[in-house]
């Protein structure tokens, strides 16, 4: 099966077009949608996790030191994390093209 495109032969379809493998959307790079990127200043970060719980794209994960790190493969650049950060530790900066 051509994973990205969905161009398949009818014989290769699972019964009823069911998708047998969970969470395969993780292959999709939604970071392409972004024109602004969030950048965290760890000096200001209080590790409160607001960026984590308010992210619609599950971009942030907790590091060993307790900071939250953005995965730019998925980040669409909506800016909610920056807006919600109580310490203004996250800035939205222009993507370099």
């Amino acid at each position: 099966m051509a994973k990205e495109t969905g161009i398949v032969r009818w014989k290769d379809l699972a019964l009823g077009c069911t998708l047998m493998e969970p969470g395969t959307a993780a292959e999709l790079k939604t970071g392409d949608w972004r024109s602004m990127r969030p950048v965290t200043n760890r000096e200001l970060c209080i590790k409160c996790g607001q960026c984590y719980i308010f992210c619609p794209d599950m971009v942030y994960s907790r590091t060993a030191e307790g900071y939250y790190e953005a995965n730019y493969y998925y980040c669409k650049g909506c800016g909610i994390c920056a807006r919600e950060c109580p310490k203004d530790a996250i800035q939205m900066v222009q993507e370099e093209k």
Binding site: T24, A26, T30, I80
Partner: protein, 330 residues
């Protein structure tokens, strides 16, 4: 003690510092930048974990999570049609009940979740929802209310608020925009006498997650109505979904409460409410409203809030928290 209260005896809420890491919904989904609806759905699923089966109504959340050949779902999920998520989950739940009882499977603890947008819940799916609530299936129904048919291009629904501009409630010389007041589906759900009804907002994430967890613990039907900002349809900036959701609560436009065994309980009393104009002005769907229109909306919001307070007072439900006590994220 009612069945809900009984089931919640040992309830323990989530802690922001130690949230479950599980993400039943994967990154890579196709929701718009800054989508408040998928944020709400993510929080719902985090609260429920992975031993869940999900039935989806047609709508944004269905389209953005399942275009063949990828799926954002890490839990079993089924989409059938627009108006029938509650009926589909009735079938799934009944099947598990029968198969467990007959010894054909041994999976007694699966949680059953159906969700739909406001169109799939308040309009076309209301009958199926009412049927499933009335029949008493053990399931959670979540309405992700973004106040219009966003998936088809922002048409009005019965959940669209008064005055809002949509593509089928355009303001004009002879129209204010949406001419009707928002249908209150949580009240309708509560009128079924089901053990648990709640409203929730993704801006108050812990409150939302706790309510969904309670809904899962309670045997029988539970209904959770979640306010889900849509930057695309509401015409606000993409970073504002959480802020708009918060403002809706703090202006009393979308009060947070629970109905547990018929007892109405405010989740937080909005002691010093912000004026509705603060909520309206950040959304261009309300841009055309006059001062007079905004006054009308303020009056209606105040009346509805009073009505809610009366319901709480009459059933002896006390607010759990007062405004100002809450931490960010809660």
């Amino acid at each position: 003690m009612g069945i809900a209260a009984e089931a919640l005896k040992d309830f323990k809420g989530f802690n922001l510092k130690k949230l479950p890491e599980v993400e039943p919904l994967s990154s890579g989904h196709r929701a718009c930048q800054g989508c408040g609806e998928i944020l709400a759905l993510r929080q719902v699923l985090k609260a429920l974990g992975e031993n869940v089966i999900v039935a989806s109504a047609t709508g944004c959340m269905e389209i953005v999570t399942s275009p063949f050949p990828q799926t954002a779902w890490r839990v079993p999920w089924i989409h059938v049609a627009f108006e029938n998520a509650a009926a589909v989950i009735s079938g799934v739940e009944s099947a598990y009940k029968a198969l467990n009882r007959k010894g054909k499977i041994d999976q007694p603890d699966v949680v059953f979740l159906a969700y739909g947008g406001d169109g799939g819940t308040a309009d076309i799916g209301l009958q199926a929802l009412s049927g499933a609530l009335e029949r008493g299936h053990n399931f959670i129904y979540v309405c992700l209310d973004n106040e219009a048919y966003m998936n088809t291009g922002i048409q009005r629904s019965s959940s669209t608020p008064y005055g809002a501009m949509t593509t089928t409630s355009p303001p004009g010389k002879k129209s204010i925009g949406q001419r009707t007041w928002k249908k209150n589906v949580a009240y309708i759900a509560a009128a079924h006498g089901i053990p648990y009804v709640a409203t929730a907002s993704p801006a108050f994430a812990l409150d939302l997650m706790n309510k969904v967890k309670k809904a899962a613990m309670i045997p029988g039907p539970a209904y959770v109505h979640i306010f889900s900002p849509c930057p695309t349809g509401w015409r606000h900036e993409t970073d504002l979904a959480v802020e708009v959701a918060r403002l809706a609560v703090l202006t009393k436009i979308f009060p947070l409460y629970e109905v547990i065994d018929g007892r109405w309980i405010l989740s937080r009393k909005v002691a010093k409410p912000k004026p509705v104009s603060e909520y309206l002005k950040v959304q261009r769907r309300f841009r055309h409203l006059t001062e007079k229109d905004i006054e009308d909306i303020q009056r209606r919001v105040d009346e509805e809030y009073e009505d809610l307070l009366r319901r709480c007072a009459m059933s002896g439900g006390e607010p759990e928290k007062k405004e100002g006590e809450e931490a960010q994220g809660d």
